[in-house]
Amino acid sequence: MREITFREAVVEALDIAMERDPKIFLLGEDIGYYGGLFQATQGLMQKYGEDRVMDSPISESAILGAGIGSAIVGMHPVVEIMNIDFLPVCMDQLVNQAAKMRYMFGGRMKIPLVIRTTCGAGRGGAAHHAQATHAAFMHFPGIKIAVPGTPHDVKGMLFTAIEDENPVLFIEDKMMYNMKGEVPEGYYTVPFGKAAICHDGNDITIVATMRMVHKALTVANEMEKDGIGIEVIDPRTLCPLDKETIINSFKKTGKMIIVDEGNRIGNFGSEVASIIAEEAVEYIQAPILKVTAPHVPVPYSPALEKEFYIPNEEGIRKAVHKVLEYA
């Protein structure tokens, strides 16, 4: 199969979706003439015009509100918040309005809204342009959260997000935009709430998100040579979360490591560990470990960011060895 980048997969999905559905329009900062800060909307304004690919003022609340309001009255907006760090600027529109409106109004409305955003450290973005705060949004009922981990998945999941009748927070790991992978031509979907088992193994379960999936896979492939079987699971959506696949794997291995770039406290892995403790306690053979960013803002210097802050293969190997002490 042909290989294209994660970025190209995003552009392709938006392009095909916009061709299929005239109610879709894009709205966000620098997505038009500039083609998106990460070039993930490149060429779309030229193809579909300024009415369907709208450059917005730097007004995150207005962007979100425009998405919510237009979705309620029949459009299918795909809005972009350039960095996940900017979502707190419009937190009210996201977590108090988009997430809650359907419920608080008695289920009598639909909000088919996609909010694309980016996360991830590694470009010297520092504290305001590099966070991975995806887990924070799990706390708010009413938002689906997609965290695709491959070019194949980002394309298929973007179609699923656009067709969903609920607000979807669609998070793209900005450090993956140049990653290449096999991506089918044309339209296809990848369902929400269905984890991918990226590597089979019987000894340890690693649940990893976004770019961390690939770091976990590197370690899993290495260790396979030493006879250690690591099962790597990519949940692909945090809400809905495919608990079944995670729990079934854990019942087989009895050992769990979660690798996630978010800060340590309230990390996605904390929730996974809690699920295991509540629903599979009798299978626990070793401490459940999290490999995460430390609990500090993203630092700027490469000596701090690249060498220390971002979870890496070495951290995963250490966790694997620690868990194996309980074998």
Partner: protein
């Protein structure tokens, strides 16, 4: 301009519906029958009614925590509204929203938002959706002097004016942001002046005069529907009661008895009735009949609300996702 008598009577009826509905809420709240918060609109009826008389069922509004008046004026039905306040399954939101979150999509009521200033961006979004679908509709965004200081309101106004979407910002300046008087929460006296910053018309209107509000909003609707973009209409008004029903002595901690009494003398309903009688547009008996009819229907709404069942506890888990 001379309005048909039927329209004038409709205005009176709607204002009375709001007033009697809320007086019933006051009574029931005092008896402990209303399980949550209630922010009353009494005194501000001319704004919602004067504005919404310009709308059809296809037009939209966004409302606020002080939203009963907007909903009734836009055609919200009394029974499911009262039932919602009582937390009943038959309420507009099946008991999940309460007084601060009433929505009725079939009436174009996109919902009341409990967060001050949050309705602006959503109203503008709805107007953007109207424009993109080439619909002959408008959105009225109701908000208060308090919300005029929220950042989201300004983002919304800038966006609306930039894209000339059909939205009308109706500011109910009731002189207090909760307990803080206007002169203590902003340096301007007229919120309408802020329109200039967004290159849209800003007008000031007597919010106690239903006909004055009607005329200004009529112009703004015409402007919005002809693609000329938004208007900011500041309605000078006053809430006769406290910020909410738990506000001691109708807000005497932060405003004087004299001030409240002065504004009560300008009651929008009493002055409208006087005007209709003085100009011999209606007879006293006709007003009496309307009042009796409204009173009866409020009573029916109350009975409906009280007799309706509560939702089952496990229904708390429903309605999150479509």
């Amino acid at each position: 301009m001379k309005l048909p008598k039927s329209m004038l009577l409709e205005m009176l009826k709607k204002m009375l519906e709001i007033r009697y509905f809320e007086e019933k809420v006051v009574d029931q709240y005092a008896r402990g029958a209303v399980p949550g918060l209630a922010h009353l609109y009494i005194g501000e009826e001319a704004v919602a009614v004067g504005a919404c008389m310009n709308l059809t069922e296809d037009d939209y509004i966004t409302s606020t925590h002080r939203g009963h008046g907007h909903c009734i004026a836009k055609g919200g039905e009394l029974k499911p509204m009262m039932a919602e306040l009582f937390g009943k399954k038959t309420g507009y939101c099946k008991g999940k929203g309460g007084s601060m979150h009433i929505a009725a999509f079939d009436k174009g009521i996109l919902g009341a938002m409990g967060i001050v200033g949050s309705g602006g961006p959503i109203a503008v979004g709805a107007a953007l959706g109207i424009k993109k679908q080439n619909l002959d509709r408008v959105v009225i965004c109701f908000f208060g002097d308090g919300a005029s200081n929220e950042g989201a309101t300004h983002e919304a106004m800038n966006f609306a004016s930039l894209h000339k979407v059909p939205v009308i910002f109706v500011c109910e300046n009731n002189l207090y942001g909760i307990s803080v008087a206007q002169h203590r929460h902003q340096a301007i006296k007229d919120i309408a002046v802020r329109a200039a910053g967004y290159a849209m018309p800003g007008v000031i209107v007597d919010g106690m005069d239903v006909l004055a509000v009607y005329e200004e909003v009529k112009e703004a609707v015409k402007r919005a529907k002809s693609g000329k973009g938004p208007t900011l209409i500041e309605c000078k008004t006053y809430r006769f009661r406290g910020h909410h029903e738990g506000d001691p002595n109708q807000g005497l901690r932060y405003r004087t008895k004299e001030e409240i009494a002065d504004w009560r003398k300008r009651c929008p309903i009493e002055s409208f009735k006087k005007k209709l009688l003085k100009e011999k547009i209606v007879k006293k008996r006709e007003i009496d009949n309307i009042e009796e009819d409204v009173e009866r229907r409020i009573e029916e709404a109350l009975v409906y609300a009280m007799e309706s069942p509560f939702p089952k506890p496990e229904e708390a888990l429903e309605d999150l996702f479509a």
